[in-house]
Amino acid sequence: MADRSDLKAELERKKQRLAQIREEKKRREEERKKKESEMLQRTENVSEDSDLDRKRRETEALLQSIGISPEPPLVPTPMSPSSQSVSPPSETGSQESIDGGTVGRYRTLQWDTDPSALQLLADSVHGCRMQRLGASKIVQIDFMPKELVTYCKETQTPVASDQPEEEEDEELSVTKSEPVPQQLEEESSQEAEEVHPRELTNEEKEQIVHSEDFLFFFDRSIRVMERVLAEDTDIFFDYSGRDMQDKEGDMQAGSNLSFNRHFYDEHWSKHRVVTSLDWSPQYPELLVASYNTNEDAPHEPDGVVLVWNMKFKKMTPEYIFHCQSSVMSVGFAQFHPNLVIGGTYSGQIALWDNRSHRRTPVQRTPLSATAHTHPVYCVNVVGTQNANNLITVSTDGKMCSWSLDMLSQPQESMELIYNKSKPVAVTCMAFPASDVNNYVVGSEEGTVYTASRHGSKAGIGEMFDGHQGPVTGISCHNAVGPVDFSHLFTTSSFDWTVKLWSTKHNKPLYSFEDNADYVYDVMWSPVHPALFATVDGNGRLDLWNLNNYTEVPSASVTVEGGCALNRVRWASGGREVAVGDSEGRVWIYDVGEQLAVPHTDDWSKFARTLMEIRANRGDGEEEGVLELPA
């Protein structure tokens, strides 16, 4: 039964096609006549009668007797309709579409080899004279299976759930009744890209998702969206009737050092040590952290730099930057808000720009003898808005000064050699506040040196001896106030101590010995004259307020997890401390007001404290103290 109806449908279609063929016949006759006249002209023009031409003419004549005009085939074979083959409805659908399309195409197909088609034409012209059955080509056209529309019930209000069900029913009924025109429509809509929503094929979706435009859009939107999602302030909060939930970050008003938040990214921070931290001078909520290699993931880039945002509660970095070599030191470029500078283990200085959409550095210094060839642990931008330089020092004692516009070669470079004999293996460097010429460096041997960039005494100046292990961190006093303490600096070292120095004496003023492990970093508070922070290998963060006690830290906290803490950085307001640990986590601690905010008399108090310290030290050790020229 089904076969019969199918056959009937086929016969109908064939009849329609025959009618079309008859129409085409007439048109072709006319054209053929034109062609013949052309052909005659051509034969007259061509002097040589090649074999091929002769054969061609013979075949043309033969075909003309049947009634087919000699035209070259334009369309490949698979499209030729095999009228006598048993084809599934979809193929007849395709044939129909082809019929619906240009007639000319159909005509040229006849030229192609299909004998059954030729026979059909012959029949149409001469009125069913011969019935010759022959083998015909089976054309196979693949259509993607219609996507099954499934609907999973979700808990929604009844109104909402009815509508999608109706939609679905409609779609299903439509597809069942008329498969062929539906597919036709689909084709045309997909080709023409109609407005009303149709599903795209998976390939098209993949293509879109891979396109650059989409990735730009996605990155921007996701950033905004994450910020929005992370803010969970409820604008409709009703204070009258409901219980107030505990707010995040409980106010520990009394405590001096309280945990605020921590930054950690599963993908990029895992198994990496935080090698350096820096706060942005322009946007106080931005913090950049650099990480070294992840041994567990050899295919990931060795150096990672992440920019975190304190303002929003989202837990993902604002920007992610890579580098092929571990980044040992990082900093925001002081006078260029978009640039992040990193010094790497290979000696290259990498420059990232957050305006570019790339994660790799936009500029890198060359790996050559003119630049650094040893790990760069110190990067610093000094100067003013108009005249600034990037100063970098590597562990082979080379100091290079660069211009941020051109990192292909340093503006000047200098070997830091002490006493003309041995170069200094620099591990840390600090510039005193508002000084662009003189700076202090700490070395691997445990000695600290002053150095200057220009002038008669360019290079290493004095030596400060006191530590028994490599110096890990150095910090110059930079709180600005009524009394100037810029000659003071502190150093931390592997010998479990933190020492306080003045540039005027080559022996330490005081030694803080409260730690039970390597002290990895120290930093003065930017606002309080007597406050500095230290971190050690036991996971302890200590805040020392020298106006209170000099023997023990005024506030101390052990970071969760007990990992060694590698870096500490005060935020520019002096109210937060960022600590980086060896597991890739950055912890932000809030410092209580009593401790962080200085009083006006703190400066004079500190001056007195200093005098006491000096007096005590003077009592203790008399020899070896050199009063150095200021």
């Binding site: 990735l215 939107s221 790339r358």
Partner: protein, 122 residues
Amino acid sequence: MLIVLQLYFSFHSNDRQTEEAPVLSDMAEVEDTLKRIQGINGVIGTIVVNAEGIPIKTTLDNSTTVQYAGLLHQLTMKARSTVRDIDPQNDLTFLRIRSKKHEIMVSTDKEYLLIVIQNPAE
């Protein structure tokens, strides 16, 4: 001087050749990011829609996606035309619909929409 300039340019071209230059997030990261967003507490679904209202990526079932995509696309078009009518130099960037039960956030630019449906009470 001239030599220095040449060095600069050649260095840059080497830079481009040697670096892989990955764009900020590639396909796998897009997937990861969407999964992460979906995992945030309270997020019901995420849909990415192109300029014609056809959903490209979604974490919801098909019918809901099609419904949201179509409706929000029309609404976004209307909102955008509103913003533009008031000030032709202006353009719509973010649309946030707060209802009794959900919050729908649409981040938009010229070509695509990122729709996130959240239940903000949690």
